[in-house]
C-alpha cells in the first residue's frame, strides 16, 4: 500500500503532466500543493481544438482532469508563478518573484514548453503578413471561430503548411526534432479539408515522423481520403501579393525542381522550445546547454532533475512530448518522488 501521508509535495504547472502528477501524488495520500502561473488549470490544452490520433477534443481531456482533481484533496494555488526554488537542508523553499510562497519535501516541475517564435524565421513573413499564421494560431481559430479562415465570405482556395519551423533547424539554433509538429500538421490539414472540402491543402515537409500509435494511419488517411498533398522540400521564402495572397517559393526535392505557389493562408508548424517561465533552482545549471530543456539524472531510469535531490521533472519541460507521454511522465514522476521520500 502506497502511503505518503507524511510527505508534502509541490507540483509546478497544471498542464497534462502537472495534472497527472498532482492526481497521482494525491492518490498516494501525499499532501499536494499545485501551482500554475495561469488562473486556471489545463495549460496549453485550453487553446487546443482536437488531439491526435483519435481527434478527441481537448475539452474532453480537460473535463476529465477537472473531475479527478476536484474529487481528491489537492491544494490549488493558481495564478502564482513559482519561478525559484531554494534548497534549505531537506526543505525546498518555493519563491515567486523573490517572495516565499511555500515549502515542500519534494517538487515536481512540469512547466511545459513554449512554441518557437516564428518571427525568427523572417523569410516566412510571420508578424509581417496577416495571412501567415502558426499552428497554435490555427488551433485557436479552429476551436473558436473557423469562419475567420474565409476571406470576404469565400472559402479559402488553398492553404499551405510548412513543417519544421524552428525544429531541426540549425539556422534557428534548434538542432533537435520537436516530433509532434508533423502529426499536428496532418491533423490540422484534415481539419481544414473537413471544413472546406474544395480547398487545396499542401504540406511542405523534410520527412514525416509519424512515430506514435495511430499516427501513420492518420498520415495515410490524409493522403488517400482527404487528398492532401505532401511535397518534400523546404519553403525558402514567402511574400505577399497585392491581393494579400501569399506567394511561396520552394523546392520539390523529389522532383528536383523549384516551384512557386500562391496560397490564401500559410501555416507554420512551429517547434517546441523551453518555456520562458522555467524555474531556477538554487544557482544550478539544470538545463541542457544545447537545447535548454531540463535534464534528468538518467534518461532511462530517473526523472529526478540532474544534480538536485528532491526535484523531479514531468512532461515537456524535459523536451518535446505528446500529451499521452506527458501524462505518463507526470504519473511516473509522482511515483519516483514517493519512493525518494520513503527512502531518504
Amino acid at each position: 500500500m502506497l502511503d505518503g501521508r507524511e510527505y508534502r509535495i509541490t507540483v509546478i504547472g497544471a498542464g497534462p503532466a502537472g495534472a497527472a502528477a498532482a492526481i497521482s501524488a494525491a492518490a498516494m495520500s501525499m499532501e499536494v500543493d499545485w501551482y500554475d502561473k495561469e488562473n486556471r488549470p489545463g495549460g496549453k490544452l485550453n487553446d487546443y481544438h482536437q488531439l491526435f490520433p483519435d481527434r478527441a477534443t481537448a475539452d474532453q481531456i480537460l473535463a476529465d482532469f477537472d473531475g479527478r482533481t476536484d474529487a481528491i484533496e489537492i491544494k490549488k494555488h493558481f495564478g502564482t508563478a513559482v519561478n525559484r526554488i531554494e534548497t534549505d537542508n531537506r526543505q525546498l523553499i518555493l519563491l515567486s518573484d523573490n517572495k516565499i510562497v511555500g515549502s515542500a519535501d519534494a517538487v515536481i516541475v512540469a512547466t511545459g514548453f513554449d512554441f518557437f517564435d516564428a518571427r525568427l524565421k523572417e523569410e516566412f513573413g510571420y508578424g509581417i503578413y496577416d495571412h501567415v499564421i502558426t499552428s497554435p494560431d490555427l488551433e485557436k481559430i479552429l476551436k473558436t471561430n473557423p469562419e475567420d479562415l474565409r476571406k470576404e465570405g469565400a472559402d479559402p482556395v488553398s492553404i499551405a503548411f510548412v513543417h519544421c519551423v524552428g525544429s531541426r533547424d540549425q539556422q534557428a539554433g534548434i538542432n533537435y526534432c520537436s516530433r509532434l509538429c508533423c502529426i499536428t500538421g496532418i491533423r490540422q490539414a484534415i481539419g481544414i479539408k473537413e471544413l472546406f472540402p474544395s480547398c487545396k491543402v499542401v504540406n511542405f515537409y523534410i520527412d514525416i515522423r509519424a512515430f506514435g500509435s495511430g499516427y501513420e494511419e492518420l498520415y495515410r488517411e490524409a493522403q488517400e481520403k482527404y487528398k492532401i498533398q505532401f511535397i518534400r522540400g523546404r519553403v525558402s521564402e514567402a511574400s505577399e501579393n497585392q491581393q494579400h495572397r501569399i506567394l511561396l517559393k520552394a523546392e520539390d526535392t523529389l522532383m528536383a525542381r523549384p516551384l512557386k505557389l500562391t496560397v490564401d493562408w500559410l501555416v507554420l508548424l512551429v517547434g517546441m522550445v523551453p518555456s520562458c517561465t522555467q524555474v531556477q533552482i538554487d544557482n544550478h545549471q539544470c538545463t541542457d546547454q544545447e537545447t535548454g530543456f531540463y535534464q534528468p539524472v538518467n534518461v532511462f531510469t530517473g526523472s529526478r532533475i540532474a544534480g538536485l535531490p528532491g526535484i523531479f521533472m514531468a512532461g515537456a519541460c524535459g523536451g518535446p512530448m505528446s500529451i499521452p507521454e506527458a501524462i505518463a511522465s507526470g504519473r511516473s514522476a509522482a511515483m519516483e518522488a514517493w519512493q525518494y521520500l520513503k527512502d531518504r
Partner: protein, 622 residues
C-alpha cells in the same frame, strides 16, 4: 697597402656562394614575373617606368620596406622591430660599402670586401679623424639598432602581446631555420667585429668596448694572451650563418625582402592582381612577409581556434602550390586586407584561387525576372537576401511611397540574382552571364537610379556592372538624400542604438558616412564601438563554413557591438540582420525598418521573443 687591394680569405667563399645564389634566384624570378604579365600590364610597365611613378615607388620602398611606416601605425613597438631590422641592416650595408670605397679607393670590387671590411682592415689606414667619429661610430650605431630590433623579435616569440599581437604566425621548419640563421647573424657579427677590434685596439663604443673587454678578460697582463686566434673562427661563423640565411631565403618568408620592393614598383605602375597576369600574383605571394598582422583581425581566429586559415597561411599555401581547401575558409570580410602592411590584394587572390578550383564546374543560372509596365525614374532591386527579410521590402515601399517617388519594384517575386554569390564561390563565368542579362535589362528600363537594399548587390553593381547614365545607391544613401531634400522627415527618438557596418557596404564599397549620419538622425545616443567593422558570420563568401562556426562569429561580433548596452542594433544588410536575429538579445533592425517605423508613427522597436531571452539567460549562466 698591397693587401688592401686584393684582400681575400677562404671564409668569404661561403658568403659569396650564398649571395650569388640569392642573386641568381631572384634575377630568374624577376624575369619570370615580368614575363608572365598580361600584354596590358606589360604596356603599363613600359609606359610608366621612365615617369615620376618610379620615383614615387622608390619613396614608397623607403617608407615601407625600410622604415615600415604602416606597421608603426599598428603598433609602435612592432614597427620599431621591423624598422630596426630592415633599416639598420640596410644602413650597415650602405656605410660598410662607403667605408670600403673610401679606404680602398676602389668602387668596383667583389661584394665580400665591403661585407667583411672590418676583417680586412681592422685599423684604419687613414686618419683617425674620419674613422673614429665617422665610420666606426655609425657602424656601431646601426649594429646596435639591429640588435635592439632582434631583442624585440625574440620577445615577440615569447610575449607577442607586448608588440600588439595576440597571436603570431606559426612558422614552417624551413622558416624556423632561416629565422635561427637571421637571429645568429648579428650577435656573431658583433663578436667577430669586437674580436677584430679588440685585437687591434680599434672600434667604437660597441665593438671597441666589447673588444677591449674581451681582450682584457683573456689577458689581464698586456700581450700575455691575444684575441688573435679567435678572430678568424668568428668570421668563419659569421660567413656560415650568412650562407645559411641566403640559401634558405628564397624558400621562406624572407623572400619578401627583395620581392616587396619589386611589388611596390609594379603596383605604382598600375598593375593589379588579375587572372591575366599570373606573374604579378606570384610576386604578391612572394611579397608576404608573414608578419602575422592579419591573424588578430580575422574573426575566424576565435571561431576556429587552432585552424590556420588566415591570409598569411593562405598566401603561403598558394605560393608553395599546396592543394588545400584554405581558400574556402574565409568570409571575405577583408579585415585582413585593411591592415596588411604590404598592401596585398588578399581578397582578389582568394577569389582567383577559388575560380581556379571551380573551373569547369557548371552553375545553374536562374533566369532574370524581367520587368513589365512603363518606365519609372527609380528601379528598386531587393535581391535574394532582402527577400528573406520581407520587413525590409515592406519598409522600403513605405518609404518610396511616402516620398512620392516614381519607382518600380524590379524583383517583386524574387528570383533575381546579382551574380555576386556565384562570383564569391569562384563561378565567375556564371556570374558574368547573370551580369550580362541584368545589365541589359537595367539599361532597357530607362530608369535613372537603381536603389538596392543589399550591400552584396550594391557592390556587384558598382564593381562589375557597366551602367552608363544610371546611378546606383544603397538604400541608406537614398534615404539620407530623401531626408536632406526634405522629401521625408524622421524623428529622433530617445533610444540608444549601435550600428553594425556590413563588410560589403563599409570596407567593401566605401559607404561609411551615410549610415552613420542616419544614425544621428534616428537615435539620440549612438554607442557604436570605435572598431573596424566586423563580419556578422553570415557571409556568402564562405560557402563551406558550418553553422556552429558562423554562430560563434556572430556571438563574438554581437559581444563587441553591444558593449555599450544599446537598446537596438541597426544594420544595413539583410544578411547581417538574418544572421544576428536568432542570437541577439536586443532587437536587430535594418535602417529601412527604423525609418519606416518613424514615418508611420509605429512603435520604435519591434518586440523580441520572450523565449529567446530565456535561452540567452541560460547561455549566459553557463
Amino acid at each position: 697597402m698591397q693587401k688592401l687591394f686584393h684582400p681575400f680569405d677562404p671564409f668569404v667563399l661561403l658568403f659569396t656562394i650564398g649571395f650569388s645564389f640569392v642573386g641568381i634566384f631572384f634575377l630568374y624570378k624577376l624575369i619570370r614575373w615580368i614575363e608572365r604579365l598580361s600584354d596590358k600590364d606589360t604596356e603599363l610597365l613600359n609606359n610608366s617606368i621612365f615617369t615620376v611613378k618610379t620615383w614615387q615607388a622608390l619613396k614608397e620602398v623607403i617608407w615601407e620596406s625600410l622604415l615600415h611606416r604602416k606597421i608603426f601605425g599598428i603598433n609602435k613597438r612592432l614597427g620599431y622591430m621591423h624598422m630596426s631590422l630592415a633599416f639598420g641592416w640596410f644602413m650597415l650595408i650602405l656605410i660598410g660599402n662607403v667605408e670600403s670605397i673610401y679606404y680602398s679607393g676602389r668602387f668596383f670590387k667583389p661584394i665580400y670586401i665591403s661585407v667583411f671590411w672590418r676583417f680586412f682592415d681592422p685599423g684604419p689606414s687613414f686618419p683617425q679623424a674620419v674613422y673614429q667619429p665617422g665610420f666606426a661610430f655609425w657602424m656601431d650605431f646601426f649594429l646596435l639598432l639591429v640588435l635592439s630590433g632582434l631583442a624585440l623579435a625574440i620577445i615577440k616569440r615569447f610575449r607577442s602581446v607586448w608588440l600588439g599581437l595576440k597571436q603570431t604566425t606559426r612558422q614552417r621548419p624551413v622558416d624556423r631555420l632561416a629565422l635561427t640563421a637571421l637571429w645568429l647573424i648579428f650577435p656573431i657579427r658583433l663578436l667577430a667585429e669586437s674580436a677584430t677590434c679588440g685585437a687591434n685596439g680599434t672600434g667604437s663604443f660597441l665593438t671597441g668596448t666589447l673588444g677591449h673587454l674581451m681582450s682584457s678578460a683573456l689577458s689581464p697582463e698586456p700581450s700575455f694572451l691575444s684575441l688573435e686566434p679567435f678572430v678568424l673562427p668568428l668570421w668563419w661563423a659569421y660567413s656560415s650563418v650568412l650562407l645559411l640565411f641566403f640559401v634558405t631565403l628564397p624558400f621562406t618568408r624572407y623572400a619578401h625582402i627583395p620581392s616587396e620592393a619589386v611589388l611596390i614598383f609594379l603596383r605604382k605602375y598600375g598593375i593589379r592582381v588579375s587572372r591575366e597576369s599570373p606573374g604579378y600574383t606570384d610576386l604578391s605571394t612572394y611579397s608576404c612577409s608573414s608578419c602575422g598582422v592579419c591573424i588578430d583581425p580575422c574573426q575566424l581566429s576565435d571561431a576556429l581556434p587552432g585552424r590556420q586559415v588566415q591570409s598569411n597561411y593562405f598566401v603561403k599555401s598558394i605560393r608553395h602550390h599546396e592543394h588545400t581547401d584554405i581558400q574556402w575558409d574565409c568570409m571575405q570580410c577583408s579585415r585582413c586586407e585593411k591592415v596588411c602592411p604590404v598592401g596585398l590584394e588578399l581578397m582578389t587572390m582568394r577569389q582567383l584561387s577559388r575560380t581556379d578550383m571551380a573551373m569547369g564546374s557548371k552553375s545553374t543560372i536562374i533566369g532574370h525576372p524581367g520587368r513589365n509596365g512603363q518606365a519609372h525614374r527609380i528601379l528598386y532591386f531587393a535581391g535574394c537576401m532582402t527577400h528573406l527579410t520581407p520587413s525590409i521590402i515592406r519598409s522600403m515601399s513605405q518609404i518610396f511611397d511616402q516620398a512620392g517617388s516614381s519607382w518600380q519594384f524590379y524583383d517583386p517575386d524574387g528570383l533575381a540574382c546579382c551574380g555576386r554569390p556565384l562570383k564569391l564561390a569562384g563561378q565567375s563565368e556564371g556570374a558574368n552571364r547573370i551580369k550580362e542579362q541584368l545589365q541589359a535589362d537595367f539599361l532597357a528600363s530607362g530608369a535613372e537610379l537603381l536603389v538596392t537594399s543589399c550591400p552584396i548587390c550594391y557592390r556587384m553593381f558598382n564593381e562589375d556592372y557597366i551602367l552608363p547614365g544610371m546611378k546606383v545607391l544603397h538604400h541608406t544613401q537614398y534615404i539620407l538624400e530623401l531626408i536632406e531634400w526634405k522629401r521625408i522627415r524622421v524623428d529622433q527618438n530617445k533610444l540608444t542604438a549601435a550600428y553594425h557596418e556590413p563588410c560589403e557596404l563599409g570596407r567593401g564599397s566605401g559607404v561609411i558616412s551615410e549610415p552613420r549620419e542616419l544614425m544621428s538622425k534616428l537615435y539620440q545616443k549612438d554607442t557604436t564601438p570605435d572598431i573596424e567593422g566586423l563580419c556578422c558570420g553570415g557571409s556568402l563568401g564562405a560557402p563551406g563554413l558550418d553553422l556552429v562556426t558562423r554562430r560563434a562569429v556572430a556571438r563574438g561580433a554581437l559581444g563587441e557591438l553591444t558593449s555599450g548596452k544599446p537598446d537596438v542594433l541597426i544594420t544595413a544588410c539583410p544578411l547581417c540582420k538574418k544572421t544576428f536575429g536568432p542570437v541577439s538579445e536586443i532587437p536587430v533592425m535594418d535602417f529601412a525598418e527604423a525609418v519606416a517605423r518613424s514615418l508611420t508613427g509605429g512603435s520604435v522597436l519591434p518586440e523580441t521573443s520572450k523565449s529567446l531571452k530565456t535561452r540567452h539567460k541560460q547561455q549566459v549562466a553557463v
